[in-house]
């Protein structure tokens, strides 16, 4: 018998504390697979944002730095400028990156810092108990939009990948999902590509991963997969929006 699927080396074997169906575990695996593929675990430093993603260091066997909320791209800039030979990536949720951290991601991308940004978009603030995020969709009930998000009152969701793709400093901008094998496969390819772009010093590489947050959506895990397909993907289209050659 030949083993055709096993845990990547860089992914620590531990009990996953996240909620059932949470896609952080999947995202961690994709990152670990990319790091194993390019054999860069010795020289990679991760920057964890604030949110459920902060526990990055419990799951990936890498040097990891905690950043204040939203500031991971700035922290990554400092790390990368001191050790340009290291591979540096940030791991951020939708509050961290698209709310409080909006300035840092735009300007870090604008400077073309040679880092990788992994953006977990689950349309809600997870860690803090389910408040509205800049990525929350119309009608979605959250603890701070209990009547459902109303674009006229609450503003519109932000499509980060399209916005960042417009900046010259961005080398790679892709949006993927992990709700079913077909999308999951492409997600893995995009994450690999993002790290490869950094290794080749192309500029900032950005991958937005549409993910489930069953607990704060008030859904079962299976229902949340259906929501990604039926609601999220139509609003946040999948694809590679920019790829410098």
């Amino acid at each position: 018998m030949k083993q055709v699927f096993k845990r990547p080396e860089t992914l620590i074997k531990t009990t996953n504390h996240f909620c059932p169906g949470c896609h952080h575990g999947t995202a961690h695996r994709l990152i670990a697979e990319a790091i194993d593929l390019f054999q860069i675990s010795d020289s990679t430093v991760g920057v964890a944002g604030v949110g459920c993603g902060v526990f990055l260091y419990d799951y990936l066997a890498l040097d990891v730095c905690e950043a204040p909320h939203g500031r991971a791209p700035a922290v990554a800039t400092g790390l990368k400028r001191v050790h340009p030979e290291n591979i540096v990536f940030t791991y951020q949720g939708d509050g961290d990156l698209a709310a409080i951290g909006m300035s840092e991601i735009i300007h870090t991308a604008n400077r073309g810092e040679n880092i990788t940004v992994i953006f977990i978009n689950n349309c809600v603030y997870g860690m803090t108990g389910g408040q509205m995020a800049p990525t929350t969709l119309s009608g979605q009930k959250t603890t701070t939009s209990p009547q459902g998000r109303d674009y006229a009152y609450d503003g519109y969701p932000i499509r980060m990948t399209e916005m960042l793709a417009a900046l010259d400093g961005v080398a790679f901008a892709a949006r993927v999902a992990v709700n079913k094998p077909a999308t999951l496969n492409k997600a893995g390819q995009a994450v690999n590509k993002a790290f490869e772009m950094q290794i080749n010093k192309m500029g900032l590489s950005f991958v937005e991963i549409l993910s489930a947050c069953p607990t704060n959506w008030g859904m079962t895990p299976s229902e949340s997969l259906r929501r990604i397909e039926a609601e999220m993907i139509p609003f946040y289209p999948l694809g590679i929006f920019k790829e410098k050659k």
């Binding site: 018998m1 030949k2 083993q3 055709v4 699927f5 096993k6 845990r7 992914l11 009990t15 996953n16 996240f18 909620c19 059932p20 169906g21 949470c22 896609h23 952080h24 575990g25 999947t26 695996r29 079913k180 094998p181 999951l184 496969n185 069953p214 079962t220 895990p221 299976s222 997969l225």
Partner: protein, 74 residues
């Protein structure tokens, strides 16, 4: 050795593997593990039907599934 090995002690019964398997060879069981969930288990008795596609393992967010494939002698 089984084709699909699930770490049932750590399973949180999200059900992604169950819906991923094209042959419906994984189900959520009745037993309760230490974490308090009723973990997924592989239907050993139907192992012959498993093609080792590993979609179950790919979909598991906790990376609890190992998949093996029979090597055909050429």
């Amino acid at each position: 050795m089984q084709k699909v090995i699930i770490d049932e002690a750590r399973c949180k019964a999200c059900g992604y593997c169950v819906s991923a398997c094209p042959k419906s060879l994984i189900e959520l069981g009745d037993s309760i593990n230490q974490l308090g969930y009723q973990p997924a288990f592989f239907l050993k008795e139907r192992e012959d039907e498993c093609t080792s596609c590993a979609l179950c393992a790919q979909m598991c967010p906790d990376v609890l599934i190992e998949v093996f494939k029979e090597e055909k002698n050429k």
